[in-house]
Amino acid sequence: MSVLVNKDSRVIVQGFTGKEGTFHASQMIEYGTNLVGGVTPGKGGQSHLDRPVFNTVAEAVEKAQADTTIIFVPPAFAADAIMEAADAGIKIIICITEGVPTKDMSAVKNYISDKNCRLIGPNCPGVITPDGAKCGIMPGFVFKTGKVGVVSKSGTLTYEAADQVVKAGLGITTAIGIGGDPIIGTTTKEAVELLMNDSDTEGIIMIGEIGGTMEADAARWIKEHGTKPVVGFIAGQTAPKGRTMGHAGAIVGGDDDTAEAKMKIMSECGIHVVASPADLGSKMKEVLA
């Protein structure tokens, strides 16, 4: 088992024929992802990387039975691409694009709230289930099959965690990069919940960073409903205050906002918090022993 994506996922790429889309689609095909085609408006009917190109997502769903999409379109068009996928009935929407305006994402969040889909990202590295499907931009070889699920806001820090877990001899079920933007489709708590309900996942690594309350919300959920050990880390213990967060935003976030406060809440909720990011793998090995 795994979550979100596996070898049976029927994956398309939106922004298929662009530079980014082409490069990463090739990488995904090479990894073994079941890529059934892609969408570039106006290029429907063509073939790209030996896969069909469609004009619309609806067409890709109808003709190629697509159920998962990865979005590489430029920031100005990303919100539209997500909503098109949701409207077409795509179940798993992964948006890699960085730099989507917050206002656009607010509209997206509202639009997809009553659709039967799950959005991951934007501004994320994607999702990978080793030996099943790589739906993202991560280096596939770092991730080996195993029993630990990873949830992270950050790309390279996800790779770091996976590398440590694999070197500790544990391996990965699914790694989910949820993205670091103010508005994202799937929260830390939701991603953790997916992994808690996955029978193959025995332990979870949860990596957060300063800003917002998602880690604290996840920690409180874990305290109530957790059935597996969770190892946690918050990046930004040494980050200066107020550089990325608005003045008034810090009030709303309240005391849950700093790395220190988040780590304290996580510890209180029974999460095995590591102070150093170098200890993620060894700590997971210790708690699963």
């Binding site: 920031p75 100005a76 730099g99 989507v100 305006p101 917050t102 206002k103 994402m105 607010s106 509209a107 969040k109 509202n110 590295p125 931009i137 991560m138 280096p139 070889f141 770092v142 992270s152 806001k153 950050s154 790309g155 390279t156 820090l157 996800t158 790779y159 770091e160 590398d163 670091g180 103010p182 508005i183 990596i207 960073e209 300063i210 800003g211 917002g212 309350t213 919300d217 880390f233 990046a235 930004g236 213990q237 040494t238 980050a239 200066p240 550089r243 608005g246 003045h247 008034a248 935003g249 810090a250 009030i251 709303v252 976030g253 790395a259 102070a275 150093s276 990011p277 170098a278 200890d279």
Partner: protein, 396 residues
């Protein structure tokens, strides 16, 4: 992107939000000239001189003064222009004042008492919706109000499908205890303010204070406005409002090379790919007994030229006693970064601080070989823990 008060007010005013009117000046002579013009246009007798810098608490640092005549005005403008303004939100060094806003006096006496209100518009990250936060306790430090009298802070969340609705504007005005003309003016103020926030792709509006004048007008006396950087492509006119003098020179330079850099005051410089790993690397430095001198994300295309530029920027800081490169190669190939390190070392010439290079991921082995064979005095490590140990060792 942060804006000056006068720029923020320009945006508000363009959406019909009532503001304290004013004009900007860069010399004392110009200050006098615009003050005369302002009196003609508004009838104001007194003027307020306000330093234009990107920091709150300007009044506390002597950056806001009231002038009752033009002589006073000129003397205040002389004192404020060019001063190093230190406020609770700046460094001890303060910020140089390049411009002053000459504004009308809005606290004139009249039929009713004036009152100050706090109002901000921002994103509620928990719901993904914007909200208006407001309080009767205007003119004060809002953190203090939140701590001591949280029941005096109200919020109103906006449904993105409908926008701010008239009943919500009325609710704000009722909660602020307003009546009559002031009530009506407030509903209009709130409606226009939200329209401005939405239309301008703002990420923060903080209006402290909003003033109810003695003749029951509602106006923004101050304006802290930030625009969503990701949306600037559709607001070219706002993008031009950027004042790079308000930003750290090294950070501006780094931005020109596509590097995300924040200067800090520690002793260990670092160059990393990815924001999360960059913050984690800063944390590792702290755990190893050092202090991070910067945050630096080289981004997804860390080629030799960028690496060299990053080195030059980090090494400008004399406090840097060691430099840690931490790259986890995904798309970025480690051997290319390694080549960048070797080239940078040769091109820059003297690098007098120990250099620790940790390259992991795509082509890490080739990268380590490249560095080891370069003959440079570089500490090459593979694991994150080894990097931490090495930092501790070179600082000892």
């Amino acid at each position: 992107m942060n804006l000056h008060e006068y720029q923020g007010k320009q945006i508000l005013s363009s959406y019909g939000v009532g503001i304290q009117r004013g004009m900007v000046a860069t010399t004392p002579e110009e200050a006098v000239q615009v003050a005369k013009q302002l009196t003609e246009e508004t009838g104001t007798g007194w003027h307020v001189i306000k330093a234009q810098v990107h920091a709150g608490g300007r009044g506390k640092g002597g950056g806001v003064k009231l002038a009752k005549n033009l002589d006073e005005l000129k003397s205040h403008a002389e004192n404020i222009l060019g001063m190093q303004l230190v406020t609770p939100q700046t460094t001890a060094e303060g910020k140089t004042v390049h411009q002053v806003l000459i504004a009308e006096d809005v606290y004139y006496p009249g039929e009713s008492e004036t009152s100050e209100i706090y109002m901000s518009v921002l994103l509620n990250r928990a719901t993904g919706r914007n909200m208006i936060m407001y309080s009767t306790e205007g003119g004060m430090d809002i953190e203090e109000v939140a701590e001591k009298t949280p029941h005096l802070i109200f919020t109103e969340e906006i449904d993105p499908a409908t926008g701010l609705l008239p009943f919500q504007c009325r609710k704000v005005a009722f909660n602020l205890g307003l009546e009559g003309k002031a009530f009506k003016e407030m509903t209009k103020f709130v409606a226009c303010l939200y329209k401005a926030y939405d239309g301008a792709d703002a990420s923060l509006f903080e209006i402290n204070p909003v003033l109810k004048t003695s003749d029951d007008k509602i106006i923004a006396v101050d304006a802290k406005v930030s625009i969503d950087d990701n949306a600037l492509y559709r607001h070219k006119d706002y993008a031009e409002m950027r004042d790079v003098r308000e930003e750290d020179a090294s950070e501006v330079e780094a931005g020109e090379y596509g590097l995300s850099y924040v200067k800090l005051d520690g002793n260990v410089g670092c160059m990393v790919n990815g924001a999360g790993l960059a913050m984690a690397t800063m944390d590792i430095i702290k755990h190893a007994g050092g202090n991070p001198a910067n945050f630096l994300d080289v981004g997804g295309t860390a080629d030799a030229a960028r690496v060299e530029q990053a080195f030059r920027i980090i090494l400008k800081d004399d406090n840097v006693k060691a430099l840690l490169v931490n790259i986890f190669g995904g798309i970025v190939r480690c051997d290319r970064v390694a080549q960048g390190v070797v080239d940078a070392y040769k091109n820059i010439g003297e690098i007098n601080v120990p250099l620790i290079v940790r390259l992991q991921g795509t082509n890490a082995t080739e990268a380590k070989k490249l560095i080891d064979e370069s003959g440079l005095e570089v500490h090459s490590v593979i694991l994150l823990q080894e990097a931490a140990d090495k930092v501790a060792e070179v600082l000892a």
